[in-house]
């Protein structure tokens, strides 16, 4: 892979982030309401309001003064203060919630990519076989279900019913735990939410991988590989799979954007203290600075995922490395 290719993709990613920051600014200025109305205090004098507006720079025109000020503080990592969590900088609030989400989504994605791609490849390779028929119908079911629909029965059966796992949260409150014990506790809390997220994603990835393999299977180079007398498993592993993977890289990266949105429902069901839950709370409280920070984070992570996908794609496909 050439340095030129990586550099080009990096520049694209940075330009996209700049555009997102600008959009973030415009979008939230267009929303109804204003800071002084948000205080809901009828006794404020116009003089006081004017003074406050001047103090926060709101008396300046939106463009360029406010935008420039916004861009500079964004670049410095200053995204303002949360309304709901009074006084706390939103960056801190968001950082606290990002950890649990990354944990939940990261593990769920990792499992789903491995299992989903394997399952899809297997069922597409033997289309119409037992594996295909069972796997494909299950995948369709999980693919079409939102996480909370997958999550509820899991809670009812494995948490409320059998009591194997806790019903919600990320840690068991209270008690002094050693590091090993704390880790085990976290693991127990992770099982059900990760399962719900992974099942949904496995459904999506295996269906996409299946159709990609089916398409790849009729390529001429697969006939060549078969003509070489290679064992069937080898034809799949070293000829069909690497080619079928290519469209998947992009699809997985695009999907990552929806995953964060999807995580909202999963986090509500399992009361998981992540970004999803935080988003709902911020919406409830009309905590615009907080929302703004969350949106920025989501947008930047999608851009980053796409950048990573471009690099992986370049690694997998010699034709785009130039």
């Amino acid at each position: 892979m050439s340095a030129h290719y990586i550099l080009r993709k990096l520049v694209q990613a940075i330009l996209t982030i700049v555009a997102i920051v600008a959009l973030n600014f415009v979008l939230f200025r267009m929303m109804p309401g204003s800071p002084e109305r948000a205080t809901k205090n009828p006794h404020l004098t116009p003089e006081f309001i004017a003074a406050e507006r001047a103090k926060w720079g709101l008396d300046k025109p939106l463009f360029p003064d406010q935008l420039v000020a916004f861009a500079i503080s964004t670049a410095q990592g200053d995204l303002g203060y949360s309304i709901k969590y009074r006084g706390q900088p939103v960056v801190e609030v968001v950082a606290d919630a990002a950890g649990p989400t990354v944990l939940l989504i990261g593990i769920g994605e990792a499992i789903a990519i491995v299992v989903g791609l394997w399952l899809g490849a297997r069922s597409g390779w033997r289309r119409g076989g037992v594996m295909d028929r069972i796997g494909n119908s299950l995948s369709l079911i999980f693919y079409s279900m939102p996480y909370f629909v997958i999550g509820m029965p899991l809670i009812i059966i494995f948490a409320a019913g059998l009591g194997w796992f806790p019903t919600s949260g990320m840690t068991t409150p209270g008690g002094d735990k050693g590091p090993a014990e704390a880790l085990f506790d976290l693991g127990r809390h992770l099982v059900l939410p990760v399962t719900a997220v992974a099942l949904g994603l496995i459904g999506a990835y295996s269906i996409l991988m299946r159709s990609s393999i089916v398409e790849t299977r009729s390529e001429d180079y697969i006939t060549t590989a078969r003509a070489k007398g290679l064992p069937d498993a080898l034809v799949l592993r070293s000829h069909a799979f690497p080619n079928a993977l290519l469209p998947m890289v992009t699809l997985i990266a695009i999907n990552l954007g929806y995953v964060v949105a999807g995580a909202i429902t999963a986090e509500i069901v399992f009361n998981w203290p992540g970004l999803g839950l935080l988003t709902v709370q911020a919406l409830d409280a009309r905590d615009y600075p907080l929302l703004q920070a969350i949106f920025l984070l989501i947008a930047v992570s999608v851009v980053f995922a796409n950048f990573a996908a471009d690099i992986v794609y370049g690694y997998l496909d010699p034709r785009v490395r130039a």
Partner: protein, 373 residues
Amino acid sequence: MTGVREPGAVSATRGRRQVPLPRLADPAAPLLVVEDLAVRFSLPSGSVKAVDGVSFRLDDGEALGIAGESGCGKTTTALSLVRLLPANGRIRSGSVKLFGIDLVPKTEKQLARYRWREISIVFQGAMNALNPVRRVGDQIAEPIEVRLGRSRDASRKRAAELLDLVGIPGQRASAYPHELSGGMRQRAMIAMALACDPAIVIGDEPTTALDVMVQAQILQLLERLRRELGLSLILITHDLSVIAETCDRVMVMYAGKVAEEGPVTRVFTAPRHPYTQKLLSSFPNIHADRRTLDVIPGQPPDLRNPPPGCRFAARCPFVMDVCREVVPPEVTFGDGVRVACHLYPGRDAAGPPPRVVGATRTCDAASSTDPAP
């Protein structure tokens, strides 16, 4: 299981090829004898009788050309030799005997032994026939390593030698297919076909989609390899001049059947089957003196529902009543030409030769008793 050649076969080699024959091989049997091969494709709209009663034979070191209009079953015939048919294709009947071993009843696993090590294929347009994400050298080395059980290093080294042999510098082994020109890719494909030193190489339109200069180079390469390695070749092409230059025998197919088969010198100079005559006269390259081009009017029949008699009847200028009802039997002439046409009712029949308007030569049934000139 496919690692090394079976013990007990060590001594049996044949011809110039220093490769032991498969264990069950009969050293005295002809290289390849195909008898009465029938292949069908099942479609929702019916079953396509793509190959129907095709027989032919290929001897050591011989080159057989297969010609015929698009859709007449050339590729299907070739692919069914080592059963590489698409999923909806089945061999209905017939036998494919390689060194006397019938491949048709073999299981997929047993058959794998014969793929590439005995019969390899050069596909058309190697852009798609080579895996785009793997290095060319690795793709050539792969069957050497997997099928012959050589070490990775030895396989790579052999791959570089093979590339050299087909006129590509060995260090290009690390190139990806898209980094090679069309002609280079086809050369690489040929190198790959030679990887296991096979008994038979099939070329399915190996030069189509290449420009004329490159076509000529690839054909010269095939010629040279044939001479040097003593290859036996099956060459499928639309281009009759290619067959005329490269092949010993030619098989003309029409709608899934053999119309005429025999030595190139005989078939091209004195075509007997009306379809061969039409095909030759529609082709300007063979006889430079031809000015006008005959295009064969009409379409080949729908192979889901072929006509009961001769499949060429609807387009044949000599069609007779019997043609529409009775499938013409194959008749073999003294010069080694085999024809399936009611104009030649029996081996010794010596009727007047049919005159074809626009054909380059008229065919002479009387030559059935003459040896080839």
